[in-house]
């Protein structure tokens, strides 16, 4: 028998179990299984699947496998409820969200215990992190509901949102999805993960308790098929998914061409960079919070430790000593640091990856863990950049440790990944921290901290970590839309370019040869062909017949022009003003060109004048479209910075050969992107004339590249290119679908539209919306205090 005398000898903590009886009684009352929550009430359970407590292997509940009929019913309920919900005043919606926040707080312990039972995460985390963040998210968005009309003028909700969430933070991810959607006036159909549906079902009970209007929140449980039925449902307007990059790509392809809005929050392999002048003890605790938080099942986990060679041994020693005090075990024990892996399938996945890593030469340092669905906290060393442990998201309590020599080396290693979700940087040198924060490709950067989250700041990734943000102002933007311009009749296919010689048309004067424009130089098309550019009375010139190799060269040149994005907004503004100035000086020539395509004198003059004005408008924005400092936690500065995307592929509209090209290129380059432009296929010569203007206006080589030729085949090559970060396409409906589907390869951000929909000469042809498309938000967290 344990006595006080024994304990005084060992000074062990002893058991500190959280009492789960209220929750287990509730589960017992639902032993027959849970139905879905559709149109304000629970359905009778259908075909059910087992829900397991991973720590014990016990079946603790049964939930229904959502069928297509269930999804239909849920979507129909959401559709029916949406107009009324959107028509409520912001204040009325705010009251509903406020009630949800209050009730979540009132049931906080219930939800925390249920979450730990279902997911296996330690009660400390569900109690102190997950559930408080859920409440915070609901409060924050009660606020957005109240003021959305004032803060986001001219926008409207998407309508019905289909939301599919993962098992790592079940209720928190639900809150991240539901709160902004409801605040903006959308209704939702949400599917929780198959492994962890229980807190979503409990939340449905809270929705009932709060008296939310029927059909505003619908919860359908089930597996990936159910999720696919939601994402693919014809009556869903917006799809939001958090989960693996693999499934994210499937959803991108599935929704391509559907007109659905899409945000994806996907995987990561985030770097955790420790410089020699860091507080090493602090960084060690950072690793604990990064990778031994939630068993490492965290998309933004700092899984790749990069440490300066100068302090690597000391750091590794401190880290190994710290690992000894980690306690892995019963999630409901208040002394547990690392709980159970969510499911044996996930445990097997971790083990398989680790075996491959060891086979590749990795050395593992592990501490004790119980038998069962647990994996020991692990530090893997001797992991080379090509190792599976360095490239694959393990989604388990495994950190790799690699050394670097210089800050440049550190940045190169940090960015050596397909992903770009988060990064953590440790140094006491503010210059170094902010320099690396700027260079690292990640949507969230934590300086001297990690995994700090708040509803007031946006969360989301670069690259294959997805697109769209959750939280803060930028998160609300993902659930609101500017009314889409609609074409009276859809754009037509373009005739194939004719590359055979023609009888001369209306050409006069000295013959001019329009080439492609790549890397600041004129380039002959790789094909060696030109195609005829038609005027009203026959051909008026010839343009290069670009092909995939020309696109390859243009993208390569654009990727090398990264210095443009680092220039000040003022510098870019100067160049854009200069473009406007030089364009104005040649206005007669451009008018003449446009008239040769058949434009009237008046129309040609108006198009050139509008083009010059657009240069000035985007020059004006270049140093003004800046970010924000978010209100988040005490003693933190949270900077939301607008950053360029990188290389943007632009397929310009056919009409308005000059203005269409400039209206799309200018916002992109004003924000620091470099572009590969496919101008109007039928009338590319106004755009090729531009390269002389660009040359004389000090646009650095590679910032704007022009490839003329067959629009839709060039668009495909661009959409499939992994170096291209974003793709804007204005063409046919089929072209839109193809671009969206092809963009899944590297999850580039897309903007596709019927080219006939927008009035490029009017107000719809420019605006802040273009600038939002041209930027991504990086949130940098800087704690302070001395």
């Amino acid at each position: 028998m344990t006595t006080i005398a024994n304990i005084l000898d060992t000074m062990e903590y002893g058991p500190a179990p959280e009492d789960a009886s209220i929750v287990t009684d509730w589960l017992a009352r639902h032993a027959d299984g849970f139905g879905h929550f559709i149109d304000g009430s629970f359905t009778r359970p259908g075909e059910t699947f087992e829900v397991m407590n991973p720590a014990t292997g016990d079946v603790i509940a049964r939930a229904s496998q959502g069928t297509t009929e269930d999804v239909d019913a849920a979507v129909a309920a959401a559709r029916k409820a949406q107009p009324k919900w959107a028509a409520l005043s912001g204040h009325e919606r705010a009251r509903h969200l406020y009630a949800l926040a209050r009730h979540v707080q009132q049931h906080a312990r219930f939800l925390a215990v249920l979450e730990s039972l279902d997911n296996g995460k330690p009660i400390r985390e569900s109690r102190d992190i997950d559930i408080p963040l859920v409440a915070r998210h609901l409060y924050h968005h009660a606020g957005w509901a109240e003021i959305a009309k004032d803060e986001f003028p001219g926008t409207a909700p998407h309508g019905v949102c289909g939301q599919v969430i993962p098992w790592n933070f079940p209720l928190l991810m639900l809150a991240w999805k539901v709160a902004p959607a409801l605040a903006a006036g959308n209704t939702v159909v949400l599917k929780p993960a198959e492994y962890t549906p229980l807190t979503a079902l409990a939340f449905a009970g809270i929705v009932e308790e709060c008296g939310l209007p029927k059909g505003v929140v619908n919860i359908v449980t089930g597996d990936g098929d159910t999720g696919g039925a939601i994402a693919g449902h014809k009556d869903i307007d917006k799809v939001a998914f958090t989960g693996s990059t693999e499934v994210g790509k499937l959803i991108r392809r599935q929704t391509a061409g559907s007109g659905k809005a899409l945000t994806l929050e996907l995987g990561g392999k985030s770097p955790f960079v420790v410089f020699a002048d860091a507080d090493l003890d602090a960084a060690v605790e950072g690793v604990v919070d990064a990778i031994w938080f939630n068993q490492g099942q965290v998309c933004c986990a700092g899984a790749r430790i990069l440490v300066a060679e100068a302090v690597a041994d000391r750091f590794a020693g401190l880290l190994r000593a710290r690992m000894e005090t980690l306690r892995t075990g019963d999630p409901l024990d208040k002394c547990t640091d690392v709980g159970a892996i969510v499911h044996p399938v996930q445990l097997d996945r971790i083990k398989t990856l680790m075996e491959r890593g060891v086979a590749e030469g990795a050395k593992l340092h592990q501490v004790a863990a119980p038998q069962g669905c647990f994996y020991p906290p692990t530090l893997a060393t001797e992991v080379e950049p090509a190792s599976v442990l360095a490239t694959e998201e393990i989604f388990g309590p495994v950190a790799t440790l690699t050394t670097f020599r210089t800050p440049e080396d550190a940045v190169a290693l940090a960015n050596n990944t397909r992903y770009g979700l988060a990064a953590s940087i440790w140094s006491e040198n503010v210059n170094l921290c902010l320099d690396v924060a700027a260079k690292v490709k990640a949507g969230v950067v934590w300086i001297n901290c990690t995994n700090v989250l708040d509803a007031g700041a946006g969360f989301g990734g670069y690259r294959e970590s997805g697109f769209g943000r959750e939280g803060g102002r930028e998160g609300m933007m993902a659930y609101l839309a500017h009314p889409k311009p609609r074409a009276k009749s859809g754009a037509k296919e373009l005739p194939a370019p004719d590359a055979a010689p023609h009888a001369a048309g209306a050409e006069s004067g000295i013959d001019r040869t329009a080439k492609l424009y790549v890397g600041g130089k004129q380039a002959r098309p790789d094909s060696g062909y030109v195609y005829a550019v038609e005027g009203p009375k026959g051909p008026v010139g010839r343009a290069g017949l670009g092909n995939r190799k020309d696109i390859r060269n243009a993208v390569e040149a654009a990727a090398k022009a990264g210095g443009w994005g680092k220039a000040t907004g003022h510098n870019r503004a100067q160049v854009l003003y200069y473009v406007g100035e030089n364009l104005a000086a040649r206005s007669a020539e451009f008018e003449q060109r446009l008239r040769s395509f058949g434009a009237t004198e008046k129309a040609a003059r108006a198009e050139v004048e509008a083009s010059v004005r657009r240069c000035f408008w985007y020059a004006a924005q270049a140093d003004k479209f800046d970010g924000a400092v978010h209100q988040t936690k005490p003693a933190h500065v949270t900077l939301a910075m607008h950053e360029p995307l990188g290389v943007v592929g632009i397929v310009a509209p056919t009409a308005h050969p000059l203005l269409g090209a400039l209206s799309t290129v200018l916002p992109a380059i004003a924000m620091g992107n470099s572009v590969v432009l496919v101008p109007s296929q039928t009338h590319p010569l106004a755009a090729t004339d531009l390269y002389q203007v660009l040359d004389t206006s000090d646009i650095p080589g590679g910032v704007v590249n022009i490839v003329t030729g067959p629009r839709d085949s060039l668009a495909r090559t661009l959409a499939q290119h992994d170096e291209v970060a974003a793709m804007w396409y204005f063409g046919t409906a089929d072209g839109c679908a193809t671009v969206e589907a092809d963009s899944a390869g590297n999850l580039k951000q897309t903007w596709v539209e019927d080219e006939a929909a927008r009035d490029w000469s009017g107000g719809a042809g420019q605006g802040r919306g273009f600038l939002h498309r041209a930027t991504q938000v990086k949130n940098i967290w800087v704690p302070y205090g001395e």
Partner: protein, 341 residues
């Protein structure tokens, strides 16, 4: 299926981060080092991170029921029961010493099953002129007498007088001397002056143990705290202590964390195990648990014994006794039903 939790003792613990230098099986007293700026200059301490760690220490660990009772009993063993007031008298000191000898009511000890266990506080801590009273009152109890000295609490007296004060207290029978450092030396980063001062005090202590009070509330930055800790240890301190109890800010967990890391780093380099004493402002039994969790998590079991850990507190004992009574009776206790100190 039941969980198989690995008991802590089964976990293969590597050699403790602080090795121990022994002689005839006993730890060797810190002999100090020549001043070595390299051990602390440029050592980064990030306050935000220290605060984060400190804030979650108490939420990551929990001690309940029997274990909690044991941890509270252990806290009693580590208390320097203190009176440092202008109205201290012989009578007051005698009362304090009586409580130090018998910190827990007999019926509570009995219910806890520790009637036979000799249980006293870690020490009694008084002003130099009260040392003789305390020595008399504690005779035969084994409870050491600690005396503050060196112009406590500010230390702004000529060094010669401060050293004299130490010798006086030692002559009166003090076993431990809680000295205060000259904050100016830290604020001006005159590490040599600080080192010389503490080294002279250590010499004046003779066999009495030296506890160096850093007055961290005055030092303000955590880098100062780390540097001052390291210099005090290099100069031969046996314990480092946070506060006099008279500064604006007393012992805090973030400051303690930094001092423990300094102590760990010094120990790793030298093999000398240095003690730690937070002081001032700690009143609740709950705090006694929080500090012990800090010690266990950062330094392990050895630093939960009175030879390496003390609380400087006066009113905390009363709350601990009340909590222990609740533990054995299931009823909440009232202060007036317990013997005061």
């Amino acid at each position: 299926m039941t969980l198989e939790t690995t008991s802590e003792s089964d976990i293969a613990t590597p050699s403790h981060p602080v090795p121990v230098r022994t002689e005839d099986g006993h730890p060797v007293r810190n002999a100090g080092l020549p001043l070595d700026l390299g051990m602390f200059e440029g050592h980064a301490v990030n306050r935000s991170a220290a605060e984060r760690r400190a804030a979650t220490l108490g939420t990551r660990r929990s001690v309940k029921k029997l274990h909690q009772a044991a941890w509270l009993v252990n806290a009693i063993r580590c208390i320097d029961l203190t009176t440092l007031a202008g109205d201290d008298t012989e009578g007051r000191v005698k009362r304090l010493c009586a409580k130090a000898r018998n910190p827990l009511a007999g019926h509570i000890k009995e219910e806890l099953g520790i009637s036979d266990m000799p249980l006293t506080t870690g020490a009694v801590c008084v002003y130099p002129t009260m040392v003789a009273h305390a020595v008399r009152a504690l005779e035969g109890s084994g409870v050491p007498v600690a005396s503050v000295a060196t112009g406590f609490p500010t230390g702004l007296m000529p060094l010669k007088l401060r050293l004299e004060e130490i010798k006086y207290a030692v002559d009166e029978g003090a076993d431990e001397i809680d000295i205060v450092i000259t904050r100016e030396h830290v604020l001006r980063q005159d590490w040599q002056a600080l080192y010389d001062e503490v080294a002279a005090m250590r010499e004046a202590c003779g066999d009495a143990h030296l506890k160096a009070i850093l007055a961290t509330g005055d030092l303000q930055t955590l880098r100062n705290v780390y540097g001052a800790s390291m210099v005090a240890m290099q100069a031969g301190a046996d314990f480092i202590k946070t506060s006099t109890g008279k500064e604006g800010v007393n012992a805090t967990l973030p400051v303690s964390l930094v001092m423990l890391r300094a102590l760990r780093d010094y120990g790793a380099a030298t093999g000398y195990r240095i003690g730690f004493k937070p002081a001032g402002g700690m009143k609740a039994a709950k705090e006694a648990l929080a500090w012990q969790i800090l010690m266990k998590e950062e330094l392990g079991r050895p630093w939960l014994s009175p030879d390496l850990f003390r609380f400087g507190a006066s009113s905390m004992l009363g709350d601990i006794e009340r909590q222990l009574e609740h533990h054995v009776t299931g009823r909440y206790a009232a202060a007036h039903r317990h013997a005061m100190s």
